[in-house]
C-alpha cells in the first residue's frame, strides 16, 4: 500500500484505541434529568401563577402547560434509557458487539409540529 493511504491506517489505529465508545456517558441521562428539573420548576411557577401572568400569556397558564410537557419529555428520555441502555463494549475492539436492534430511531420530535417530544419511542441509540 502506498503512503497515500497511510492516514487511513492511522485513523483505523486511533479508532481501535478510542475510548469514546466505552467511556462516554449517555446523553439521554442529561436531557432527561434537566427536563425533569426544569419541568418541576416551571410547573411550580404555573401553580402559583398570578392573574397578571395568565393575562400576559393571552389567557393561557403557559407555565403549567410547558412545565408538564417538559416533565413528560424528561421522564420519557429516562424511560427510553432504562428500556434500551447503551451496550457496553468493554475491552473488546471492533467489530462492534451485537446490540438489540429494531424500533424507529428516526423521529426527532419536531416532526410533530405541536409536540415537544423527541423520538422517544425507539432506540437507535446504543453507542456500541
Amino acid at each position: 500500500m502506498s503512503e497515500e493511504y497511510e492516514y487511513r491506517h492511522e485513523v483505523e489505529d486511533l479508532q481501535q484505541k478510542s475510548a469514546t465508545a466505552a467511556r462516554l456517558f449517555d446523553v439521554r441521562r442529561i436531557i432527561g434529568g434537566l427536563f425533569v428539573i426544569y419541568g418541576i420548576i416551571v410547573l411550580i411557577a404555573g401553580f402559583t401563577a398570578s392573574d397578571a401572568d395568565v393575562r400576559k400569556a393571552s389567557g393561557i397558564n403557559i407555565n403549567l402547560w410547558t412545565g408538564s410537557c417538559m416533565l413528560a419529555v424528561g421522564l420519557l428520555f429516562l424511560l427510553w434509557m432504562k428500556l434500551r441502555p447503551l451496550s457496553a463494549p468493554g475491552a473488546e475492539p471492533k467489530p462492534e458487539p451485537a446490540r438489540p436492534g429494531g424500533g424507529p430511531g428516526t423521529g426527532p420530535g419536531a416532526a410533530e409540529p405541536g409536540g415537544q417530544g423527541p423520538g422517544s419511542r425507539g432506540p437507535g441509540s446504543g453507542t456500541g
Binding site: 500500500m1 502506498s2 497515500e4 493511504y5 492516514y7 487511513r8 485513523v11 483505523e12 486511533l14 479508532q15 484505541k17 478510542s18 475510548a19 469514546t20 466505552a22 467511556r23 462516554l24 456517558f25 442529561i30 436531557i31 434537566l34 427536563f35 426544569y38 420548576i41 416551571v42 411557577a45 401563577a49 401572568d53 400576559k56 400569556a57 393571552s58 393561557i60 403557559i62 407555565n63 402547560w65 410547558t66 412545565g67 410537557c69 417538559m70 419529555v73 467489530p95 451485537a98 446490540r99 438489540p100 436492534g101 430511531g105 428516526t106 423521529g107 426527532p108 420530535g109 419536531a110 416532526a111 409540529p113 415537544q116 423520538g119 437507535g124 441509540s125 446504543g126 453507542t127 456500541g128
Partner: protein
Amino acid sequence: MHYLAEGLRLPTNALDYTILILYFVVVLGVGFAARASVKTSLDFFLSGRSLPAWVTGLAFVAANLGALEILGMAANGAQYGVYTVHWYWVGAIPAMVFLGLVMMPFYYGSKVRSVPEFLLHRYGPSSHLLSSIIFSVASVLIAGVNLYAMAIVVEALLGWPQWVAIVVAGLFVLAYITLGGLSSAIYNEVLQFFVILAALIPLTVVGLRRIGGFGGLKDALTDAHGPNFVSAWGGTGIGSANPLGANWLTIVLGLGFCLSFGYWTTNFAEVQRALSAKNLSAAQRTPLIAAFPKMFIPLIVVVPGLIALVLQPDIGSEKSGLQYNDAIPLLMSELLPNGVLGLAVTGLLAAFMAGMAANVSSFNTVFTNDIWRAYIRKGRPDGYYLLTGRVVTAIGVLAGMGTAFIASSFSNIMNYLQTLFSFFNVPLFCVFIIGMFWKRASAPAGFWGLLCGTVAAMINYFWLYKADVISIPSDQGANFVSAIVAFVAGGVVMVAVTPFTKPKPVESLAGLVYGTTAPGVAEPPAPGDEAWYRRPAVLGWSALILAALCYIPFSL
C-alpha cells in the same frame, strides 16, 4: 449588526435566573463528564467516530440553529413574509439529502478527518492549504461576530454590560470544549436543541393565540401587506418586483442549488457532526435525520417573526425604534410570564453558545490536523496533537473574544468579511462535486477552480452589484446571483485547466472518486441497520417529498 431598543428589558426574576444558572452548570458538567472519554486525538476531534445517528443528527441541525440564525430568520419573516420558507425547503433540505445520499460515502468512507483533508487527498496540498486557512480564519471571525451579537442581545434583555456577556459565554465554551472535545460540543448541541424547542414552542403558541390563530395571522397579513406576503411563490416571476429582490430562477439556482449545497455539503462545522458517527450508515443518516426537524423549524422561527409584525406593525421602521431582528425578543417581553421567560432566555443563550461551539470545535480540528500537523510539525506522537488541539481551542476562543471586542467598533467591516467568506463555500462545492465524479480533474484545476470561483463571486458582488454596474434590487438577490457566478466560474476554470495539466495517478484516487472503492476492508454495518426505516434512501426521499408537500399550503 443590530441594536436593540431600550424598551426590550425583560422583567426577569430569581426564578428565571435559577433556570439560566442551572443550564450553565449542566453545560460545564457535560464537559467534565466527557473528559474521561478523551484518550486519543480522534476522540477529541471526532468523538472516536463512534456516536449514534440520532445524536449526530440532532447536533447537525443544532449546529446550524445558532441564535443568529433564529433571530435572523424571524427578522426575514417579518421583513419578507412567507418567502423566508425558501431558506428551509429549497435552501436546506435538498442539500442535506444530497450530502447524506451522494457525498457522505466519499467523506466517511475515505476516513478523512475534515473537509479540507478530502481536498488534500483528492487534489493535493495547494487547494488543501488554501481552504484550511480560509476556513480557520472564517471560523474565528464568525465566532467573534456571534459573541458580539450575543453581547448586544444580552445587554438589551438582561442589562448585563457587553464585556461581561462576552467573557462569560466565551469562557464557558472554552472550558467545555477543551475538556471534552467534540463529544461535549455535540452533547451540548443536542441538549440545546431541546431547550430551544422548549423556549420557542410556548412563545409561538401564546403568540398565535393572541392574534387569533393561523387564520387570524393570515388575514391580518393579507390586509396589511397584500396576498403575495403570505405566499411562497407569488410575485417571484422573472421581472416582477418583490421585497426579496429575487425571482424563482435565482431562488432555485442561486439559493437552492449553489448557496445551499455550498453551505451544507462543504461547511466543516456541519459535516464534522456526520464524520463523528459510528459507521457509514449512521454518517449517511446524520443529515437525513436532521432534515426532518429542519423542515418544521419555520413553524417556531418564521411564524413568530410574522406574529411580531402583526402585533407591532411598525417594526423595522424608524418610528418604533425596533428592528426586524428584535422580533423574537419583543414577543418574549410581551407574551411570556416569569418561568417560561427564563426558559426562553436560556434557549437564546444556549443557541448563542452552541453556534459558537460549533465554530470552535471545527476550527480546532482543521487547524491542528490540516495546518499544524500537515505543514508545521509532522510525525509527532498522537498525544502531542491531542494537546495541540486543546491549546488551539483556547487560542481560538480567545481570538474570537478579541474579535468580538473589535467588532463593536468595526461592525460594518465584519459584515463585509462575512459576506466575503460566504463566497468561498460555493466554488468549494463545485470543486468537490467535479472531483468526486470526474477522475481526470487534476490538482491544479482544483486549486484554480477554487480561487477563480471565489474571486468571480467577489467581483460580481462588490464591484458589479455594489457599484451599480448591474442592477439587482436587494442584497439577498445579489447574494443569490453571486453564488451562481461563483459556481459557473469555478466549473468553467476547472474544465479549462484540466486538459493542460497532469492527471492524478488513478491508484491515488481509490475511495475518493465515484466508481472506485477504498482499499482495505469496509467497516461492517451494525446489526439493525438494514431495517427499512434506517435505510438512507428511504429517509432521504421521504424528506424531499415532505419538503415539497410543505409548499402546498403556501402556493395555492
